[in-house]
């Protein structure tokens, strides 16, 4: 198939994915409201943490602003996975299987909705955070990198949703994965920096949890300044998740199409 053909396939599916995301307020609204609500509650409730010796900033809001970007990525797992699972449940994927559509086109196209959602989420979280008084020491270039990092993570996590949908073929099963991913977020340096977590086993798990380093990449831009190592680690983890997720989803897609 020609490159133009592939581009057309991806474009058509991407258009469908974007429109479907935009037409479902039930996907967009919770992904915006829930993280911002938790940001408001946590930044108020944990303000005293800034008085702990060694806390890296005097604004807990700034520290906590990294978290919504990760929560948004978790919503991407659910939304992307649920959309594909619905395509499987309704037989749409079976119809696509009858066309000369490439697997790569299908998966890439489906992630277009995650890109749009990631952009909307990142812009909203950052704007609300800054309006509420959060710091951004890296200025406008830092804001741009935050948006790019956020979209990268959202898309990378979206591939996990695709994999889950292709493996299970059930929207309900994809939804039930939400608590599993929530565990990754909660058992990380979400609420306090790693060196201030007192409970040994918790700190060890948080140190091994990639989510901690994604949070640190956002935090470096918000209140530390340009930290190339932290940014490289953040983008590297996003790239690794994207690669592994796409490989797993491609493999699951082959199995799914064989089954049908």
């Amino acid at each position: 198939m020609s490159r133009d053909g592939l581009r057309t396939q991806v474009g058509q599916l991407a258009r469908r994915s974007v429109l479907r995301t935009l037409r479902q307020p039930a996907q967009i609204v919770p992904a915006l409201v829930f993280p911002l609500f938790l940001l408001a509650v946590n930044s108020g409730g944990l303000k005293q943490a800034t008085n702990l010796p060694g806390f890296p900033t005097d604004s807990y809001l700034t520290f906590a602003l990294a978290v919504p970007f990760m929560q948004g990525a978790l919503f991407s797992v659910m939304n992307t996975g649920t959309d594909l699972a619905r395509d499987i449940e309704t037989g749409f994927l079976n119809r696509l299987a009858l066309t000369p559509l490439r697997g790569a086109a299908l998966l890439s196209g489906l992630l277009a909705g995650a890109v749009v959602l990631g952009l909307v989420q990142a812009a909203t979280y950052l704007t609300v955070g800054l309006v509420a008084g959060a710091e951004l020491v890296t200025g406008a270039p830092g804001a741009l990198v935050i948006v790019v990092l956020s979209v990268s993570i959202t898309v990378a996590f979206g591939t996990i949703g695709l994999f889950a949908a292709l493996r299970t073929g059930s929207g309900e099963a994809v939804q039930s994965l939400f608590p599993v991913f929530f565990v990754f977020l909660f058992i990380s340096a979400m609420a306090l920096p790693l060196d201030l977590i007192q409970t040994d086993w918790f700190r060890k798990i948080a140190s091994a949890n990639p989510v901690t380093y994604l949070l640190e990449a956002f935090r470096s831009l918000l209140f530390e300044g340009w930290e190339p190592a932290k940014l490289a680690l953040g983008f590297g983890i996003a790239a690794a998740v994207l690669t592994l997720g796409m490989l797993a989803a491609s493999s699951a897609l082959k199995t799914r199409l064989v089954r049908t």
């Binding site: 919770p30 609500f37 938790l38 408001a40 509650v41 946590n42 108020g44 409730g45 944990l46 303000k47 005293q48 943490a49 008085n51 702990l52 039930s176 608590p179 929530f182 565990v183 909660f186 058992i187 979400m190 609420a191 306090l192 201030l196 977590i197 007192q198 409970t199 086993w201 918790f202 948080a206």
Partner: protein, 264 residues
């Protein structure tokens, strides 16, 4: 008691027990219901008590039983509330699949249906609390309170469970679809997290302090934390709130039942 009154009570009881049995059986036999009900509270407890224990070093934080016990009370009341809400999901599901219509047709005393769901919610919560309490004690939670105080703590949790279940059942019987889930869940989530979750009320500041000061859940949390540390505070206020909520939401649920009956 006169014979007709006895028959009414017997009818109510048999309906309640039958509904409760089915609901509890569904809960215990389906891992998709059982596992999240047990795992979620443990997970919150782990994340809060483990990840935030440094908060006990914040200036002005002075809770005698330590941060693990401080967070245990929140997670206990949260699991009580969500045990009730998740039972509301079961009510909604029964309406969605048409099973609730059969309940309405068969039950002599329809109030027994709501009572049965309430009983099931309590059983669900009791299972969760046993596991949560065991884990907290293994994790080294210090308990300063004695028998009566701990009875007070779990008594508050029972009333919170009942209130949340009646709220969720009221919504479920009006909406009669699982799509009403967010409506059952979100207000409960909101009111729980707008209370002093991480630090005592005195250490909150700004808008969250203003909101938490008028939030009835604050009294429940403060009393619960007083019970577990053996230094009871605001007990009368907490129990007044804990009794008023089920009464209020009982009326709400009764209205929902009337709506469901009218809808046929």
């Amino acid at each position: 008691m006169s014979a007709p009154a006895e028959a009414r009570v017997a009818s109510f009881r048999s309906v309640a027990l039958a509904v409760a049995w089915r609901s509890v059986h569904n809960f215990l036999s389906n891992p998709a219901f059982l596992v999240p009900a047990v795992i979620f509270p443990l997970f919150f407890f782990t994340a809060f008590a483990g990840g935030l224990s440094a908060m006990s070093n914040a200036p002005g934080f002075d809770f005698p039983s330590g941060y693990t016990a401080f967070q245990f009370v929140f997670v206990l009341l949260q699991s009580a509330a969500f045990g009730g809400v998740f039972t509301g999901f079961a009510v909604a599901r029964d309406f969605e699949i048409g099973f609730a219509k059969r309940y309405l047709l068969a039950a002599g005393r329809r109030g027994g249906i709501v009572a049965g769901y309430a009983l099931a919610a309590l059983v669900r919560a009791l299972i969760t609390w046993m596991i949560l309490t065991a884990v907290a004690l293994i994790a080294g939670m210090e308990v300063g309170g004695a028998g009566v105080e701990l009875f007070g703590l779990y008594g508050l949790a029972v009333l919170v469970n009942l209130a949340a279940m009646l709220w969720a059942a009221g919504v479920a019987m009006r909406v009669r679809s699982i799509q009403g889930g967010p409506l059952m869940q979100f207000p409960v989530f909101l009111i729980l997290f707008l209370a002093p979750v991480y630090v005592p009320l005195s250490l909150l500041s700004g808008w969250i302090h203003a909101v938490a000061s008028v939030n009835p859940v604050t009294a429940l949390l403060e009393a619960g934390r007083g019970f577990i540390s053996g230094e009871p505070v605001v007990v009368a206020l907490a129990f007044a709130v804990a009794v008023a909520l089920p009464v209020l939401f009982g009326l709400w649920a009764r209205g929902g039942l009337r709506r469901a009956e009218a809808a046929g």
